[in-house]
Symmetry: D4
């Protein structure tokens, strides 16, 4: 009934193609979705601070410079999103994904989590704050199709 274009932010894992699967799935269904995300090129993201603002000897401040710039992008897109999908993969700490989840929830933006069952227990607080927990990207596409039907 509504012709609303949904804004969906894709947060989390950058080592698999789950974003591309969701975007392609929505395109295949003709869904009007505007996707956004952090910069997913790992090196570009890590080095953006020193690349633009000048080098740092201490990695702590090198990371700070990058994270400052990245947080402009992240916080702006999350606050403008109608929905945030947070993907947790099998590897790495991924604390920024959990941080995004908490940030979205406190900003009044609904979240969907996307992860395997093996992480159910450590993610129980994040899943409780989520509106759905998916195992596969295509489930996210199906939810979007339902929301926009």
């Amino acid at each position: 009934m509504s012709d609303k274009i949904w804004n969906v932010y894709l947060s989390g894992e950058i080592h698999t193609d789950w974003r591309e699967q969701i975007i392609a799935g929505c395109e295949a269904k003709g869904l009007k979705v505007r996707f956004s995300s952090a910069v997913t090129d790992h090196d570009a993201s890590d080095m953006v601070g020193v690349n633009i603002l000048g080098s740092e000897e201490d990695n702590f401040w090198r990371d700070r410079k990058a994270s400052g710039i990245n947080s402009i992008r992240t916080s702006t897109h999350i606050r403008e999103a109608d929905l945030v999908v947070v993907r947790f993969g099998p590897k790495y700490k991924q604390w920024n994904a959990a941080f995004d989840a908490g940030f979205a929830v406190a900003s009044g933006v609904p979240i969907i989590t996307l992860h395997d069952a093996e992480h159910d227990h450590p993610l129980k607080e994040v899943d409780e704050a989520a509106k759905a927990t998916c195992r596969h990207p295509e489930q996210v596409v199906e939810i979007l199709a339902y929301l926009m039907s």
Copy 2:
């Protein structure tokens, strides 16, 4: 000058005595601080849902029942806090700590992180959103003493 009593929420790791160190340190300095935190008894926290509301066969829903009750406590205390200290220890996923950090920041509550240097890189986004990154609980105590001087 001010006689404000500060509300400080202690989030994260439950396997070491960092909370006790901070509380004892503040008491030793005579600081007027009201501390709060999640329930730190691991089993009590994990089983609270089924203990009170009835058993579940599926662990996903057992965790959901617990997390719902725990989130009443967590979100209430964080939103009432003047400061949230988020501790990341060497073990476990600790996604709930990062979730708390994002929730606090988006709620306008300042955070301090407390972790070792080895986690600086994976915590760079959380540290960027923090007002200070401490390595030892006594540094948190010193900051509180300064804030309340």
Copy 3:
């Protein structure tokens, strides 16, 4: 004077054609209105959780899965609405309609109620929070025409 396109969310009863009457009435008057609502196909709505996310033995969790997904749609559209019309029909509990009304009012979105006089007394709190109480869908259309004149 203003050429504002109004966003109107239609909440409540799904067993009569009151939505269609309002939409057709607005179209007949050439009013620029964007309507939205929950999914009104009863079975699709009830089963969406298990259809997409997998089956549940316990109906309580089957309903939870559906309600989580439905609430993304409902809360998003209500918060974006300029006006929420809440219809109470003669049958069923319709607690979700009253929940939507309370949610809209606390979100600062004006509501109009639509119901027969026999429900005036049990709906007195909801009607008090409403800007108008209508008996017939065409009255809603007339109000919209006036608002947009």
Copy 4:
């Protein structure tokens, strides 16, 4: 750890003694809780408008006068509450209870529902927005004891 006094609003059914059970249960456990609720004397509540402000011929406006005054009390206490318990009994429409639930959720106040399993399906949207669904008042007391432990 925290000595926070919790504000708990008790919404819904006025024909059984569930409020008294919760209050007595908390007292027995020595919990520091401040309870509030609407006026639960049915006649006093229904007639407060005309009793104070003057009679009305039309029952619609008689109810409006009462509901206006009652909503001052209701909205003030709900917004100040740390937790709202919403009770649905076996009888009556109870739309005001569902309205309170939606109002609390959109105001950022966590809710607990209290009802029998027979109402699970019509209350699925309200239960999804709740942090716990209880069957008996003593479960509410146990949750409060846990939150304040």
Copy 5:
């Protein structure tokens, strides 16, 4: 049930003793109310700006200096109030009372109006935004007694 102390702001007419009547009426009933209001000494209020900050030749700026200081008091008390009573008397423009009413409503603070029937029509927008319209100060006292019962 609740022992909440209500904060009540008394706005409007300063030429009759309606404030004193409400305060005395509440005291007589033993109600725990904290009253606040603008400075009701007409000359002190009008001249506060130039008295403290220095004289002005132009009355427009003399009034601006006073209104700046008065608005600190007014806006602070209204935003802290649980209820604002707005009194319109038979004389003068009293635009500041209507301004206070609009300010309170947009700040989420409920209002009660207090005026004679002859002003019903020009006050229809303010009365619509009010939770009750009283004709006599004792009705305000009765409402407060009911709210705090």
Copy 6:
């Protein structure tokens, strides 16, 4: 530099053509402004409640029905406005204009007042909350031209 289209709400006096003068003045300057206002046809506005929702014997409730519908329009446009111009003319109580002013200010929307010097003193609180006080409609046009330059 910016090509922002400004939303301007015109509140107050309906018995002179000040709105038309501002609109024509902006058109003459080619300014991209979207104007909105209440319904300025006095009878249509006063009778809209009973015209659509059915007659009332008591004028108090006749006015309530109208004011409820009018407030949907008024509050929606004011909250969406970038600027509210509030006109006070020489006649009538015009409390709704002062109410709109207070509502806008508390909603974070800047206001400009438009009135003769003879009303400076009774409007001192409203003028203090305003960003400018104009005497003639063309001054409002000049301000808009400056804001959009």
Copy 7:
């Protein structure tokens, strides 16, 4: 991935061409940015109040009239901005730039500062609240290009 058009407010120094450099740099890269700023014609800005609203003998009130009008423009654009760039040059007090920075941060809008190293110490509080500190306008362009990549 996202085709979001960014709104960027340029605050501060008006005596060099840093705004033009940023705008030209973004155009050269084909970035979809909507820029806004205060009126940068110094005399037009200082005299706008008396030019439109009539002369003042006292410079304090002449400045007040100008600042009122300018603040409509400033506060509106800052609150609508996705990013505020605050430039501090080598001369003048530039307190309005620091005021804009504090206003933006409390409004939840991220800021970037742009100034030479010699001002690092007096700007340490502003820089701490900023997401990046640039030395040259082209660094701002590079950050915008990264944010919109």
Copy 8:
């Protein structure tokens, strides 16, 4: 009438005893005021970051560490204040004072400025956002006495 204890934050110049004058003046009048401010010991404030968290070679990061800790104190007290007094003295850049002013205004906290006439022009935007501009600390005391009368 009200017995409200006012929270007043004193921002700005740390090289004269204006804070002590205001505090002593309020005590002499028996006013119930809770004062707060930044740490006014210049060295303690500048070095707090490296003193507690460890040394830095680069002064930019030394200042960052201090400013992070100081901003916890500053932002917490300003947001809790009923009134912020911002003092600009004859020396130094004092950008943090102007930043505090903008932060307070956007947080809805009224401000009073305190400075000599020679700074009227560069402070015109800050003064416009202020409710009063004082030349002497005793004027601040008189305003507080009036607000609490």
